[in-house]
Symmetry: D2
Subunit: 328 residues, 4 copies
């Protein structure tokens, strides 16, 4: 039984708690949150103890920590957990600064603790299926990757201001997906972007509509586009053009019902809420993490993947600012 | 060059004239119609002579006749054309009376002339594809056939009154399709029906909504349903469940465009007009007819197929009237 | 908190236990099973007591019983539970005999206890969506209902022999769905059937491929077809043709991925296992049951719906045996 | 009756001849080709005269010329036809050099003759439908355009060498489509590309896999990707993300048939041959051209659209060569 301590009892912490409850070989033994009531509320339905984060990390009843606290606290918690020899599951981004992630890599490697960066989309059954079929050679060599990702509605301006910008906050998932599907590191990054959804986002120094082009040394190409608004639900599509065929994942719709009338044939909107859209992915990533730790195997994506995605996001932001492609 | 005489220059005659114009080895040499202006108008764009039907049938410039006149004239024209030794392409139904079709079979067989009953849907690229793949064994043995067929709007009551009823006028296409796809003769026919679209259709002694069940000696089953009204276009679907898989043909839509908004994902309506929906089928059946005649091979479906479909339609009408399944 | 006693701890009992665990206002307080280990195993993960069925039904810690035992035990358990004043949730079929269901109705009505027949498909999000939209008038009057239902593989012959036959065991779900979607009682039932999947099923006196036609007093028509085998997964489709449009539910596929190559565009098979396919339905029906009981409202479908579906299944079996439509 | 002279009787000339034959108000009166047999063969089925190109352009029996000759002859033919006061329909590209197109614009404007550049895809029923619905405001403001365009197989290396490169030969269609759908001129062009399909294409100095990003002054973004190979047919997709919704056109498949078996649900490949895929577009563009000329209205896209697409293709080639975005 893997004993897990939960750092952060907000929305994502609750998701992870539910996932762990559904896993046979894992259990939440302790929880911590800056807001005591959040921690108490999450612990209530379980046998978990409410501790402060220092005590949780040092507890002998904790084998692994799940870090779901605000991004700016990750750095210290990773340092503490590594020092305490705990396995670490950390929400993305590991940190807003690539240099600080490099610091974390050092302490994690020195301590020799397992570390998983929570790029949950790799565990989405659709995208994981595409990845597995590429690996099995079903479409030959990967040549062109197209990722279309649109949020239903923009977050509040207050969130935007502290988010690190669209590339680091939203597109980072797609940048990781690009690496996951291309199987080769991007070497150039070119970004364009506009504030078309809400001028206030532009006033805040960010964009809400953006496109990035990545290339690799061997000539693979990836195009990503993002919008902070989609009237038809949470739009999450991926396609991979290979030498022998095409693999693509369509959106998950609310149901399978179609109505036909004089206006044509109409299906339901896409699932709108990210927790519902990626429900299976959240469960699968935690199941995988627990299994890897118990088997003594290193989980993937690791902390290095967290760093590489951050470097790509930084390069995209720089490309947008300077108007030229950036070498990485 | 196959020289074709066109009997009937109405809507369907014009369709056949256009098809023949697109075939390299065939040409319309003569046309006839009770309305002289219809014949003249159709001949105008071509080098065809306008004749009366007797003269057309006897003309040495005519190798084959295409009969697209009103149903009650088919019987005499078939007799004349057979006597004149012409190949015959005849619109469905061959006749409203199975006994009179049997008479026609006798004269056609005695004369030894080729005869094709124009069940155009067998030549639709989608349904023909299903038939070919069944024949190739792709889904193993045929077990269950489902045919959904709905007209966009009911014809005028005046037409209904002289139509022979839904089973002989509309469902006869589906009954032929059932025979085509099952590859075995139905032995029982059970029909139900209602006038739900327009009570005036009920007052005229007909139904506008109907369902038929067919079974064969080996136990294959076919379900057909018809409606005289579909708000979303001309609904023409077929599916065949076999021991190794399923084959199904979806509707042909007006275009491939999809719009997505808060109401979901919407495609275009189905093609609404039968001449457009079955444009390729009309061309293919005439191309096939011309090729078979020129090669000296018997065209299919033959006059016997016209008879068998009519017998099934008669049985369906009787089943509806009597409330019991009919053996055929 | 609704205190639920679980009668039967087999596969379906476990499904219901998981559903109840996910419901905020309900809990399993006691479980019973003829096999003590099954009951102990299910109780282990919860605070539920293991009791024998008599004790469970009489327990003051039980407000409602969920009956998931073999069909031939339902009759006695319903009588006992009604006498004990417990709300009853009973798996379908209520009983194999319509007369015995009528007996159950009497005791349930006399006792005045709430009773829900577990036709789970009514709670499938897709079919429930169709029902709600019909009720909202989205497609006008219902005219033609088409239900295609195919199991992935036939059950063992030993199961077939005790199943009551395809109509009572498998099609009963579709017969209930027909009533649910037509909103009017069928008055005639006509059935055909064959043993095409496995001759041993025919030797056992049953069919594995069948079709039923239902009609109502107002002229609505429903066609159902069943097969005990589908190579492409668990095939569960429904469509409703109404005066203003068509509503249809497509299969739920394993994922949203499509591969394209020289053979065309290929999507995943349909979900294959009924517990996975109807996972959401099982959870929704139990959530609904608990909510209705706690609100003091009568749950639906009730015991009368269990009776009516059974009467239709009996009529289908009689129709197949006699070769004629049966009035109900 | 619009009298049309056909310059060039190769594959595309024959397509235009067939289109004109199907138009009521237009006829081919004269044809010319450097290969006399090609001209004679095309004229054979019609009443058209075979002339040399000088005579054809000056013929009083010619109101409009259709230029379907090799690209390097367009310049002189346009000059001659403009001087002769003929309406001009010219295949794309107008010329390989933007400067020479500017010369052509001068003579066309000076002569005041109507000129249409044959960007046939604007007349594809699917893409035209998207354009019309954008114009009608159905999806609000255009924000992100995604164009995926893949040829079934690469052309011979000999063709590649004289083609002007992928951007001028293949992507020029997509660059015009981008302008058509964005409704605003691109101001920056960034291109990447590789030779992944065939190294010989790289050896010839070209790429076979490429992606372009366009931006406009108001912040609209367009991503285009091309490959010279697609195993699943001729891949031609477009989608437009707007402030109120998404419009997208899927591929046209060979038929509507789907097979289901243990491998899932499989549809037919995409139409493979460009003349078949764009058959309707070729007919529609010529019908439109004839109608505009007869009505005295200027046809669109005009010669300026030919220039602007060429400028974008030149910019893309330059961007690829220099590794930076190009301002246009």
């Amino acid at each position: 039984m893997l004993k897990i301590g939960l750092l952060g009892c907000g929305r994502i912490g609750q998701v992870h708690a539910r996932s762990i409850a559904s896993i046979d070989g894992a259990t939440v033994t302790a929880v911590a949150d800056a807001f005591a009531t959040a921690a108490q509320s999450l612990a209530a339905g379980t046998g978990a103890k409410v501790l402060d984060s220092d005590a949780l990390i040092c507890s002998p009843d904790v084998d692994a920590v799940v870090i779901g606290t605000p991004t700016d606290t990750h750095y210290d918690l990773i340092h503490q957990a590594a020092a305490a020899g705990k396995a670490i599951f950390c929400e993305k981004p590991v940190d807003m600064s690539a240099d600080r992630i490099r610091d974390c890599i050092k302490v994690v490697e020195t301590a020799g603790v397992p570390f998983m960066t929570a790029f949950n989309r790799r565990f989405d059954p659709n995208f994981a299926n595409i990845h597995a079929r590429i690996a099995a050679g079903e479409i030959g060599d990967v040549e062109l990757v197209t990722i279309l990702s649109r949020d239903p509605t923009p977050p509040p301006i207050s969130y935007i201001k502290g988010s690190g910008g669209l590339f680091r906050d939203m597109m980072i998932h797609d940048l990781d997906m690009a690496r996951f599907l291309m199987g080769e590191e991007p070497t150039t990054v070119y970004a364009v972007g506009s504030a078309l959804v809400d001028p206030a986002i532009g006033d805040a120094g960010d964009v809400d509509t953006a496109a990035v082009t990545l290339t690799t040394a061997s000539g693979k190409i990836c195009q990503i586009s993002n919008s902070r608004r989609a009237t038809y639900g949470y739009d999450q599509r991926v396609e991979v053009h290979g030498s022998r065929g095409l693999l693509r994942a369509e959106n998950m719709l609310e149901n399978t019902v179609e109505v036909a009338d004089q206006n044509g044939f109409r299906k339901a909107p896409a699932l709108n809420f990210f927790l519902e859209r990626y429900e299976a992915a959240y469960r699968a990533e935690m199941t995988y993490f627990a299994a890897q730790i118990q088997a003594g195997d290193a989980p993937k994506p690791g902390i290095i993947d967290g760093l590489r995605a951050q470097i790509l996001a930084d390069a995209a932001a720089q490309s947008l600012a300077e108007g030229v492609p950036i070498q990485v």
